[in-house]
Symmetry: C2
Subunit: 244 residues, 2 copies
DNA sequence: CGCCTATTTGATCTGATTCAAACAATGTGG
DNA sequence: CCACATTGTTTGAATCAGATCAAATAGGCG
């Protein structure tokens, strides 16, 4: 299926080139990029033909993650992705593919050929926007390292949920404090580097303290401030200011 | 002190724009960039006037790290830097400064104004090289997450030492298996998310198994293969292939 | 030589893992 | 539309890896 979705271009503009004003010519070029879309079932990998095939994938619908496997087969999730994200933008610049992108919920994915993105990136403004996207991803990764390295499990859990809440609300989700988060506790544990059992106990504890509820894929943040406090969450690292 | 070092340009070309062939005109432009150099004592921060001052720092000599502080004051090191690295290249693209760069050993640092780097980056080839540098840093960060999240302390230690050994040998250091690594076990612990005491015990264990020796700032890797095995280290994520 | 910083060792304690099993929810085919 | 299968959540009990506390030892350096 090969389509030219108007709203795909909108997605790209809101997230990938966020912060740069594009000329209408560029906007047209972006809308004209051929995008092959596919649907991927829950828990399935985005088929990694792309490594060789010279495409990047744009998450159009659903929730996805990037993960790496320990040689014992233990999975570590290193990033979560929401609509508008380009989980493998890095492969535009290096053949190095070090993580696998998988669907957490049923996903709609669009493939864009590198040549089209690279042509857009001939404009230094767009190139900067791409770099800025990579920089933000890296900032999230560094905070993730801090979270895994220094915080106890309850704080770690609260921190990640705080981050997801912030990212989802900028995403224009359901309401101010209620987020559709179609992930399992197993996935949360894989992201937090914690056993599933203990992940569950931490969630239960946060629930007991009336900071959140989480059922059937919906996270309600009852007390965002208190949750952030438990997780020592400071959203500065997500704040996204354009360089002078 | 304002200098135009020939070997600074060489450093930049070998690391930052690695893999891209530069025209002699560009090479000249790079050599002509005014670079203000300073010396920084062990354990001191690279003064972060740069945040506002529109400069990136190039590590010319010594060893440095990027770290973040937990709100309780616990330090998590998120990256190590060696000569040729530009620890804060990200601030070229975003004012977001989320980590602090500190000297682990006495360092010589060069400051380069953003305008000069941005002018180089007008060439899509250079822009790509910069992006590739960010991508590689991000790949290291993701592996770091895997290390903290999934591996036990002994493996974690062995993995980091393996990574440092690989990075240092590509750096053309002393010899094939002997690396000048002027860091303390405290710093190593801060990078590994482990207590200093336990970091020491892991190093002792690696020493007991005759995989390494480490004294007075010199790491000797006695059995690189066995060390990599203990750390489940696969250097694929450091392999750095240019995208088609 | 003596101070300061770094490493090393021992003993104790605890947060988190693992194992085991029940329970709830969701989806599927007859 | 219900029975069954599958996947995900919840709880308890035992165990252990690693943290913490305390203190001795060893190196560098002024």
């Amino acid at each position: 299926m090969l389509v030219r979705l108007q709203n795909t271009a909108e997605l790209l503009e809101r997230r990938l080139v966020a912060g740069e004003i594009m000329s209408s010519r560029q906007r047209d070029a972006m809308a004209a990029m051929p995008i092959r879309t596919i649907e991927i079932a829950k828990h399935h990998d985005v088929v990694r033909e792309l490594d060789q095939s010279g495409q990047c994938c744009l998450l159009i619908q659903g929730m996805a993650c990037s993960s790496k496997l320990d040689h014992q087969g233990r999975r570590q999730i290193v990033a979560f992705h929401f609509p508008g994200d380009v989980p493998d933008l890095q492969c535009l610049y290096s053949k190095l593919v070090d993580s696998t992108v998988s669907a957490i919920s049923p996903c709609k994915i669009g493939f864009i050929r590198h040549e089209h993105l690279l042509e857009l990136a001939l404009d230094p403004k767009v190139a900067k926007a791409f770099a800025r996207y990579l920089v933000r991803e890296a900032a999230v990764a560094r905070e993730w390292i801090l979270n895994l390295g220094q915080r106890d499990c309850l704080a770690r859990t609260a921190h990640l949920l705080s981050e997801l809440a912030v990212r989802l609300s900028s995403n224009g989700a359901d309401g101010p404090k209620e987020y559709y988060l179609p992930m399992t506790q197993v996935a949360l544990g894989d992201a937090l580097g914690m056993s599933t059992v203990h992940t569950n106990r931490c969630i239960r504890e946060l629930t007991r303290r009336r900071l959140i509820t989480w059922a059937s894929g919906t996270l309600k943040v009852l007390d965002q401030v208190a949750l952030a406090e438990v997780g020592h969450f400071d959203n500065a690292y997500l704040q996204f200011r354009t360089a002078g």
